[in-house]
């Protein structure tokens, strides 16, 4: 059955088109999805997942049950950049160490969305508040990263610049659209949701599929940039997600978090940002090299999570929750 599951995950259209995107880069095809359209597809996915999460949240749930994973999520977002920074500083300068640490403390919405789509295929329940967890985990790592850099570089961060970073961390487009959709999904009546659902819900898997093709194209192009950066970073990009996932999986049952939610929390912990963090870091820490933190998260950690991670984490959790 286990192999079945891995195959089922591998043979889903989103994953296959992601691989197709990698292949297109490998054979140097000129296939591309226009940038503006790709941005819109990504907006759609956040809109769709937010609306649905809000909707489900609106259908009740125990506050005490919901608050636990959220606290857990914030802790992860703060602690992961701290411990990874210590590791990274051995090989990278302070600026790049801080930027990579922030990248791994934050999360990847597309990885999350792929995991949700996997859960729905496997018919496992999860809570709408997990979408809140996704939104909540995007920002803290950015702030932790910038503070770490400020501390260790000795450079006094001008108050002005720090304010800008804080602002960007909490108002960047992807955080904003998830939270907005979540709240709106929560307040609207069921018939209102259903009028939007043929767009927001029915097209979800299909749009995710084309978006993953674009992710494959991007990841393929970014991987090559890593070649010159040496094995340490590649190893980091492979091992850290598994470590973060491992710790999360062990703790979740203790906190009484359900299987579906634990799975999503695990994937959040394992994932690394390649949208919110690059946008914030380019502004906050121009001395950090986006040619390091973007390829690492997009070219290594993202594919590992969606191809290997999703089925493996799921199997381990099933074992732990059996």
């Amino acid at each position: 059955m286990d192999l079945d599951l891995i195959l089922h995950n591998l043979f889903s259209p989103p994953i296959l088109f992601f691989l197709g995107g990698l292949l297109a880069v490998a054979v140097r095809s000129d296939l591309e999805i226009p940038r503006d359209v790709a941005k819109f597809l990504s907006l759609f996915l956040l809109f769709s997942i937010g609306l649905k999460g809000g909707m489900e949240l609106g259908h009740g749930g125990d506050f005490a049950v919901m608050i636990k994973p959220l606290i857990f999520a914030v802790l992860l977002a703060v602690l992961v950049p701290l411990y990874t920074f210590v590791i990274l500083k051995r090989k990278l300068d302070v600026y790049n160490a801080g930027a990579v640490a922030a990248t791994y403390g934050s999360v990847s919405a597309v990885t999350f969305v792929t995991a949700v789509s996997f859960l729905e295929g496997a018919d496992i329940a999860y809570g709408g508040h997990m979408i809140a967890a996704l939104a909540i985990m995007e920002s803290p790592a950015i702030i932790v990263g910038v503070i770490l850099i400020g501390r260790f570089s000795g450079a006094v961060q001008k108050g002005n610049r720090m304010r800008k970073v804080l602002h960007e961390a909490f108002t960047n487009g992807s955080v904003f659209i998830i939270l907005l959709s979540l709240v709106i999904g929560l307040v609207i009546a069921d018939d209102q949701y259903e009028a939007v659902a043929p767009f927001s819900e029915n097209l979800f898997k299909g749009i995710l599929t084309l978006f993953m093709l674009d992710m494959g194209l991007l990841a393929g192009k970014r991987i090559s940039g890593l070649r010159t950066k040496g094995g340490f970073l590649v190893l980091f990009g492979i091992l850290v997600p598994f470590f973060n996932a491992g710790v999360t999986m062990l703790l979740c049952p203790l906190f009484g978090i359900s299987l579906g939610n634990a799975f999503l929390l695990t994937i959040l912990a394992a994932s690394a940002s390649y949208i919110a963090v690059p946008a914030a870091m380019r502004m906050a820490v121009p001395k950090a090299n986006p040619g390091i933190y973007v390829p690492l998260s997009l070219g290594i950690t993202f594919p590992i999570n969606i191809i290997v991670g999703i089925p493996v984490y799921y199997m381990i959790l099933q074992y732990l929750y059996a």
Binding site: Y274, P278, V294
Partner: protein, 97 residues
């Protein structure tokens, strides 16, 4: 036709706001902005890829009196030193209207 300087500034898009802030501070009266420009430089290739503008440049064209350019030259230099990009000046003539 009046003699004038043509200033061309190319910076990573995330830094554009800082240049525009500098322009505002110095009361620059007119400029033209081309977005989504790609390029290569000391900091590697800006290939325009991705969902953010982290790998995109912005290009500003600014016609001004020489003295005006001098008034913000040093701040411009500091900005470029920190964030990357280039700034070049050439002579031009401007059709008065």
């Amino acid at each position: 036709m009046e003699n004038i300087k043509r200033v061309e500034i190319i910076v990573p898009s995330p830094e554009l706001e800082r240049v525009l802030d500098l322009f505002q501070e110095k009361k620059v009266e007119g400029y033209t902005l081309i977005e989504k420009v790609r390029g290569m430089g000391h900091r590697g290739i800006q290939d325009g890829l991705g969902l953010t503008d982290a790998f995109t440049n912005s290009m500003l064209i600014w016609y001004c009196k020489p003295a005006k350019f001098d008034s913000l030259r040093e701040q411009m230099r500091d900005l470029l030193e920190e964030c990357g990009g280039i700034c070049a000046v050439s002579d031009a003539q401007w059709l008065m209207h």
